[in-house]
Symmetry: C2
Subunit: 293 residues, 2 copies
């Protein structure tokens, strides 16, 4: 599937913003800033910041302020990958085809670089050039989506606990909605909040974000079965090897494709009131669900 | 040294607030909330939240809102201990006389419990019942003090890098001011900001906090040499064993005592304009520097 053309433009703008927001390698202590930068610039697709920007674009032509929560969420996403890859967790040597942070810099550095990125995320939100009320609402939205109660860390814990057990559809849904969908939802709501969307609009975007995030993780499960490690830039077939709770393992491949399609259509229907203003967000949503890597 | 009597009252109020702010053990996923609660309630002295409350008390009789940043900083302090104790970092089995988080729950749980506490800290600040502007200023103050540039994680990294090397006084000062003093300073400034202190007052309290935090770490170094493991509830003599950069190793014990005393006096002189209103903060400052455990 071809990337939407504006995607590349957004991606470059996000990378430039991340460059500015991260302390330089020369800043003391240099080693931690090297490790943070290594992982942030290890080839991420920038899905979350781009979603944040394109959600903001529905409500304003100037989306520059939304770069702050967008980059903050990319820092959180990166920290979660660094810590997930550690030997005590997924014990992964490769991420996007490159050595993982702890393989490159050692475990201590990887733990601290993750901690530092999570901390920098909140410093970044607090620095967004919008009124304090919006900044506080973004801190709440993003911290809860990254936390333990229906948030990313909670989903990660449930995912580990479900390994090797037979997970039912309800547990599977809980894991996917918490582990992945919550932070994707926050990317989208933060873009809307940052740009001054009404509560009603934020609620609508929240529903879109929740559902498209869920579809995104179902697609991830499918790709782990269908694609090669080379195409994914990470170890394929790992879910099966680790006996993870996944959509293909519970529902089979065919039904999983159907679920991803249904979720995606439901998500996109939430954008109907915005017409052309939401055309980019619609394109990204389809890309996320029908991608092959 | 006898604890100031109000200390016990503050401590109980802080523990009650922490109980409310932490998700219950029954909240799904239960295992992470157990690990978070285990470490938060492992017998900490609550120095940071008490400093936050007593800093707030200079400016207002009602310090209940300051409990939010105070507890947030206790979450950050606890996360830093959990991660520091990990095998890849200090590899400590005991903390305050009890098994460390990873000894009790395993490494994966300890990494995630630390991440979750750091995340919860910012959710907690954003929930403080004060206007949004103050909450944002507290997020900035606390995130920078916990970060890499002159903050806690930066100090921790510099500390690890200095192991086994000969650290000069300048590096020693950098490590102590970043690793310990920064978060103690933030406890004190957050209490002032939360209660609506003027910029001038916040600046004065910042100077007090910075200096008393520094003295606190010098005292910590001294106790590691002078006291037994039983008295400290953690392994004594560890700094020497790990060849850490400490005040006694660079300046000797006698001069270290003198430095702690000088810093403490300098810090307390900052409180002169507040007279009786700051008497509790003065008592705590003296306790922190002249304590024996």
């Amino acid at each position: 599937m071809k990337l939407p053309s504006f995607f590349e433009e957004d991606l470059q703008a996000v990378d430039a913003a991340l460059q500015k927001l991260l302390p330089s390698e020369a800043t003391r202590p240099s080693s931690i800033h090297k490790a943070m930068r290594y992982s942030v610039f290890a080839g991420g697709k920038r899905v979350r910041p781009i979603l944040c920007l394109e959600s903001a674009r529905i409500f304003s032509e100037d989306v520059s302020a939304a770069m702050f929560p967008g980059c903050a969420i990319e820092f959180i996403h990166t920290y979660s990958l660094i810590h997930d890859d550690l030997p005590a967790l997924d014990n992964d040597d490769l991420r996007r085809g490159k050595p993982t942070c702890h393989k490159q810099f050692g475990e201590a550095a990887a733990i601290l670089a993750g901690d530092a990125l999570l901390t920098l995320a909140f410093e970044t939100i607090a620095a967004a050039p919008v009124d304090a009320d919006r900044r506080v609402r973004m801190v709440t939205e993003i911290s809860t989506s990254a936390g333990t109660v229906n948030g990313m860390v909670g989903g990660q814990v449930a995912d580990i606990e479900a390994e090797g057990k037979v997970a039912g559809p309800e547990m599977l849904e809980y894991i996917h909605r918490s582990k992945t969908a919550a932070l994707i939802r926050a990317s989208i709501t933060a873009g809307a909040i940052c740009t001054g969307a009404t509560d009603q609009d934020v609620a609508r975007l929240r529903s879109f974000g929740e559902t498209i995030g869920w579809a995104f993780q179902v697609t991830d499960d499918i790709l782990d079965v269908e694609e090669s490690s080379a195409a994914l830039g990470k170890t394929a077939g790992k879910d099966i090897a680790q006996q993870k709770a996944t959509y293909p393992s519970v529902f089979g491949l065919e039904r999983s494709h159907q679920i991803a399609k249904e979720l995606s259509e439901k998500a996109i229907s939430e954008l109907a009131p915005y017409g052309e203003e939401a055309s980019r967000l619609r394109e990204i949503a389809e890309f996320l669900v029908y991608r092959r890597t």
